[in-house]
Amino acid sequence: MLAFIVKRVLGMIPAMFAISILAFTVIQLPPGDYVSTYAAQLAQSGENVDSAALNALRERYGLGENMVVQYTKWISGVLRGDFGDSFEWRQPVTELIWGRMGMTALISICTLILMWLVSLPIGIYSAARQYSVVDYLSTAFAFLAMATPNFLLAIVLLYITTMWFGVSVGGLFSPQYESAPWSLGKLWDFITHAWVPIFVLGTAGTASLIRIMRANLLDELHRPYVEAGRAKGLPEARLILSYPTRVALNPFISTVGWVLPALISGELIVSTVLNLPTAGPLLLQALKSQDMYLAGAFILLSGGLVLIGTLISDILLAISDPRIRLS
C-alpha cells in the first residue's frame, strides 16, 4: 500500500512540470502581452503612449525576452514560493490567490458533499424500485438538470431571490456582514446567499451521479450473490446497502478525483455571474488582460488539484476495493 502511494506521488512530479509548461505556453499564445493590454487601456483614455515607453515597460516586466527564458525565470520563482506579481493589480500573486482559493474550496467541498448526500440515496432507491414513481421523477429531474446551462439557472435563481425574497444581490454575504466577525446571524446570511451557487453547481453533477449510481446498481442487483443473500434471509435494505452498493460505488470513487477540479472550473462562469469572491472571476479577468503570472498561478494550482484529486481517488479505491489492493 505504501509503495503504491509513493510510486503515485513520484509520478506526479513530471506531470506537474508538463502542466506548468502547457499552462505557460497557452497563456502566451494570444498575440501581444500585458503591455499591449495596458497600451490599449491608455490609448482609450487619451494618453499618447509611444512605442519606446512600451518597450521600456516590456523590459521592466521581462516580457521582451524569449519564452524559454521567461518560463525558466517563472518556474524557478514558483519553486521558491514566489509566484510573481500581478501586472494589473500591482500586488504579489500569493496575496491575491490564497483568500480566493479558500472560498473556492469551501464552496466546492460543500457542493461535493451535498451532491453525494443527495444523489446516492436517490440513485440507490431508483435502482431498487425500478420504474416506480420516484424513479421516473428522479430521471426526469436528472435529464432536465443536465440539459439546463448552469449559468442560466444561476441568473434566474439570483433574480428570484433578489426581487421576490429581498436577499442582497450576489456575493456570499450582505454588505453589513461582509467584514463583521462570524456569528449566528452571519452564518444564516451565508446560507441564504450560498445556497444558490451550491444548488446551481450541484444540480448537473447530482443528476449525473443519480443516473450513474442507478445504472451501476442495476447491473449488480441481478447478480447471483444478491439472490443468495436474499435466500439466506438478509433484510432487503441491509442486503442492498452492504453488498451490491459497495461494488457499484467503484466507478464513483474512481471519478471523485475529477470532481473537485471540474467544480473549480465549472464554477468560473457561475461565480462570475453570481459575483462570488472565489477564484473564478479573478482568473477570468487575468486571462482577459493577459496578466501572465496571476493566470499561470491559478492554472498551476488547478492542475495540482487534478493530480492530488486523482491520487486521492486512487487511494480511496485501493482502500474500498480489496481486489485492486491485492492485484
Binding site: P30, P31, G32, S36, T37, A39, A40, A43, Q44, S45, G46, E47, N48, V49, D50, S51, A52, A53, A56, L57, S86, E88, W89, R90, Q91, P92, E95, L96, G99, R100, I155, L158, Y159, T162, M163, G166, S168, V169, G170, G171, P175, E178, S179, S271, T272, V273, L274, N275, L276, P277, G280, P281, L282, L284, Q285, A286, K288, S289, Q290
Partner: protein, 635 residues
C-alpha cells in the same frame, strides 16, 4: 475723556462683531460633534480654513447623514472611484460644461498675455485630510520632484509638455505659485479644469516625500524591507502617483483633498470598498454647512455588470451612470422604476458620433492603399449605408444621421462636415465605385481590384464593446449590396489594438470621442493626432515623433493650425483656427459616421437629492464628479 472711552468701546465692539461675522458660523456633521468636543478634532472653522469654496446646492441645502451605495464592475474599475469621488483639481468645470472654468482648489488664476505662464492663488488655511496644511509646496513637489522622474513618469502627460519641455514652477507664497514654459501653452487652463488637471494637486509632500531618495536617504532600503522592488515601486504603492493609479484608493494613510477618504482599500480580491467623511474638507454650502452631507460610501465590486444591473433593479444602488445605463438595458430599467424606487435622470453625450468607420489611409497593402486613399471610395461606402435603418435597429431610433463632427449647437459645429454624403443612394455608390476603376466583377459578383485580383475588405470591430459589432455586421451587408466584398472580423480588444497600431487593418469600427469643448483637448477624429486616429495611424505616429510615415501637405497644414491653437488661449481665435482645420477635414472626408450621439441617462434613487438632470457625461468632463457629488444628500 469719557467720550473718547465710549467711542473706543463702541469701536472695539463693532470690530468684534465684524470679525465674528467674517469668521462665519460654520456647521458640521453631527457625527463629528463628539470628536470636536473631546478635542480629537479642531473646530469646524479651523478645519475648513479661512476661505473655503462656497458651493450652491443644485436644489436645496441638504441634511447630513446616510451611506451612499454604489457598484464597480470588473477587474480594476478604479476610474469609477475617480470620476465619482476623485475630481478635485485646481479649477473645475461646471455640471453643464458650458466651458466656463470655476475656481476649485485655486481661488483664481491669471494667465500671461503670451500664454506662457499661469499664476494660481490658493485658499488660506486649506488642509489635507490628516489636518496638515495644503500649500503651493505640494504642487511644487509634484512639478519639480515627481513629474521629471523617469521611473515615476516614463511617459509625460501631453498637456503638461510644450514641445517636450516640462513646466517650471515658482512658489511666491504658500498660497500663490506660477507655472511657466518657454513657449505658449494655450490649452493649459482647459486641461487644468479637465479630468487630467487633478494631477497637479494629487500628492501630499509631507507624506509622499518619505518615499523619495531625495528627501529620505533610506528610501530604497525601507522600500525593499517593506517588500517592494525599489523606492519607485514603493512610492507608487503608497502614494499612487498618476491620476488613474489604482493605488490612489489603496492606502488609508495617504492624505487626500477629496470629500471622502478610504477605509476599506481597493485591493485585488476586495469585495467592497468603503470611504468615510473627510473632516478637513474645504467646501461649504451657502448656509455654512461643511460638506459633504453624506457620511460614508460603500461601493461593491461586481465581477460583471449583470449583478450590478440586478442591484439597481432591487434598489440597492443610489446612483449609477457607468456600466448599466445603456440602450440595451433601458427597457428593463424603465420597467423596474417603481419597485426599485429610483428615477431615470437624462444625461447628454457630447461625442462627435455614435461610431466612426475608419478606412485605413495608411494601409500596408499595395493594392488596397490607392483604393482606400481615393476619397470617392469612401464617399461610395458612405452612400451605400441606410443610416435610418441602422439607427432604428441598433439605437431604437434615438439618433439623427450625421457624419463625424462636433455637435450642432456648439461653436465648433461645421455644417458641411456634418451633413455631407448622408443620403442612402445605392445608384450613386455603384456609379462612384465604377468610376474609380472597380467596375470589373468577379465570379461571385463582387468587385475586383484594378489589377484583376479579388478585393476583400476586412471590417474589424470589438465584440465586447457595445453595439459596434452589431453595427459592423449591418455595414458589411450594405457594402456587399454594392459589390464591395466586405467581411466582418470580430476581435477582442487587445488584438484589435495590436492590429490597428501596426496599421494592418482595412476598416475598423470604433467610437467617436470629442464633440464639445474637448475638441481641442482630443481632436483625434478630425486629423491624424494620436494612435487613436484610426484612419491614419502612421501619419499620427509621425506627428507624435514615433516613426510613422510623412503625410501629404493638407495634413501638415492641419498640424500647423493645431499648433497655432495651442499657442493662444483666446477662445475666439481658437474657434476660428479650428474651423479652418475642420474645412480641411470636410474636404478630405477621413471618417464615415452614422448619427448623432444617443441620449444617455443615469439612475438615481428617489431619496437622493441635489442630482441635476440633463448634464453631459464623458471622461474629459468626468461625470458625475462634475455634478459635485459632495452636495448629494439623502432626503
Amino acid at each position: 475723556m469719557q467720550r473718547v472711552r465710549i467711542a473706543a468701546l463702541a469701536g472695539i465692539s463693532l470690530f468684534a462683531l465684524a470679525t465674528s461675522a467674517m469668521a462665519q458660523d460654520y456647521k458640521q456633521a453631527p457625527e463629528l460633534d463628539a470628536l470636536v468636543s473631546s478635542g480629537a478634532l479642531p473646530a469646524v472653522a479651523e478645519r475648513v480654513g479661512a476661505n473655503p469654496r462656497v458651493l450652491t446646492p443644485v436644489e436645496s441645502v441638504g441634511k447630513y447623514g446616510g451611506t451612499f451605495r454604489g457598484g464597480m464592475v470588473g477587474g480594476n474599475d478604479r476610474n469609477m472611484l475617480f470620476t465619482y469621488f476623485g475630481y478635485e483639481g485646481l479649477l473645475a468645470w461646471d455640471a453643464d460644461w458650458t466651458g466656463e472654468v470655476h475656481p476649485n482648489i485655486a481661488t483664481g488664476y491669471t494667465a500671461s498675455a503670451d500664454s506662457r505662464s499661469f499664476t494660481f492663488t490658493l485658499r488660506e488655511g486649506m488642509k489635507w485630510s490628516d489636518g496638515s496644511p495644503f500649500t503651493a509646496d505640494d504642487v511644487a513637489f509634484f512639478i519639480e520632484d515627481i513629474l521629471p522622474d523617469e521611473k515615476l513618469f516614463p511617459t509625460k502627460p501631453g498637456w503638461l509638455t510644450v514641445e517636450g519641455e516640462l513646466p517650471s514652477i515658482a512658489v511666491i507664497s504658500p498660497t500663490e505659485f506660477t507655472m511657466s514654459w518657454s513657449k505658449p501653452n494655450g490649452l493649459f487652463i482647459l486641461n487644468a479644469a479637465s479630468v487630467y488637471g487633478v494631477q497637479l494637486a494629487l500628492l501630499n509632500k509631507a507624506y509622499c516625500s518619505q518615499f523619495l531618495p531625495k528627501y529620505n536617504e533610506n528610501a530604497d532600503a525601507e522600500a525593499v524591507a517593506a517588500g517592494a522592488a525599489g523606492w519607485a515601486e514603493h512610492m507608487v504603492a503608497k502614494c499612487g502617483v498618476g491620476i488613474e493609479a489604482i493605488e490612489r484608493w489603496r492606502n488609508p494613510e495617504r492624505p487626500v483633498l477629496e470629500a471622502w477618504k478610504i477605509v476599506d482599500p481597493y485591493v485585488a480580491g476586495a469585495t467592497r470598498v468603503t470611504f468615510e467623511r473627510n473632516p478637513y474638507y474645504w467646501k461649504v454650502d451657502t448656509d455654512g454647512n461643511q460638506l459633504p452631507y453624506i457620511d460614508d460610501l460603500s461601493i461593491g465590486v461586481n465581477a460583471e455588470s449583470q449583478t450590478l444591473l440586478l442591484s439597481v433593479l432591487a434598489g440597492e444602488i443610489d446612483y449609477e451612470v457607468r456600466h448599466t445605463t445603456n440602450t440595451t438595458n433601458l427597457p428593463v430599467i424603465a420597467e423596474g422604476v417603481e419597485q426599485g424606487d429610483y428615477r431615470i435622470s437624462p444625461r447628454e453625450s457630447r461625442v462627435g458620433n455614435v461610431m466612426t468607420i475608419s478606412v485605413n489611409l495608411n494601409s500596408q497593402d499595395a493594392t488596397k492603399a490607392p483604393i482606400f486613399q481615393n476619397k470617392d471610395f469612401r464617399i461610395a461606402l458612405s452612400h451605400a449605408l441606410d443610416r435610418q435603418a441602422i439607427i432604428d435597429t441598433i439605437y431604437l431610433g434615438q439618433s439623427t444621421p450625421q457624419q463625424v463632427s462636433p455637435r450642432e449647437g456648439t461653436p465648433y459645429y461645421n455644417e458641411r462636415l456634418a451633413t455631407q454624403y448622408l443620403e442612402h443612394d445605392v445608384e450613386k455608390a455603384n456609379a462612384l465605385l465604377d468610376s474609380i476603376g472597380l467596375d470589373k466583377r468577379g465570379g461571385n459578383g463582387m468587385r475586383l481590384a484594378p489589377d484583376g485580383s479579388p478585393l476583400v475588405v476586412n471590417v474589424a470591430a470589438v465584440t465586447a464593446l457595445g453595439n459596434m459589432a452589431d453595427a459592423a455586421e449591418l455595414f458589411v451587408q450594405y457594402w456587399q449590396a454594392v459589390g464591395v466584398d466586405a467581411r466582418f472580423n470580430a476581435m477582442d480588444r487587445t488584438r484589435f489594438y495590436e492590429e490597428k497600431t501596426a496599421s494592418q487593418h482595412d476598416i475598423v469600427v470604433w467610437g467617436a470621442t470629442s464633440g464639445g469643448i474637448d475638441v481641442f483637448i482630443d481632436p483625434r477624429d478630425y486629423f491624424p493626432f494620436s494612435t487613436e486616429s484610426n484612419f491614419a495611424i502612421e501619419w499620427a505616429k509621425n506627428y507624435i515623433g514615433d516613426g510613422g510615415v510623412e503625410p501629404p501637405d493638407y495634413v501638415k497644414e492641419q498640424w500647423a493650425l493645431y499648433d497655432q491653437i495651442k499657442a493662444t488661449s483666446v477662445p475666439e481665435e481658437q474657434n476660428e483656427l479650428f474651423q479652418r482645420l475642420l474645412e480641411i477635414t470636410a474636404d478630405q472626408f477621413y471618417q464615415i459616421g452614422i448619427g448623432t450621439a444617443v441620449p444617455l441617462y443615469s439612475i438615481a434613487k428617489n431619496n437622493l437629492g441635489n442630482v441635476p438632470d440633463g448634464t453631459p457625461t464623458g471622461w474629459i468632463h468626468p461625470d458625475p464628479g462634475t455634478l459635485n457629488t459632495e452636495q448629494f444628500y439623502f432626503k
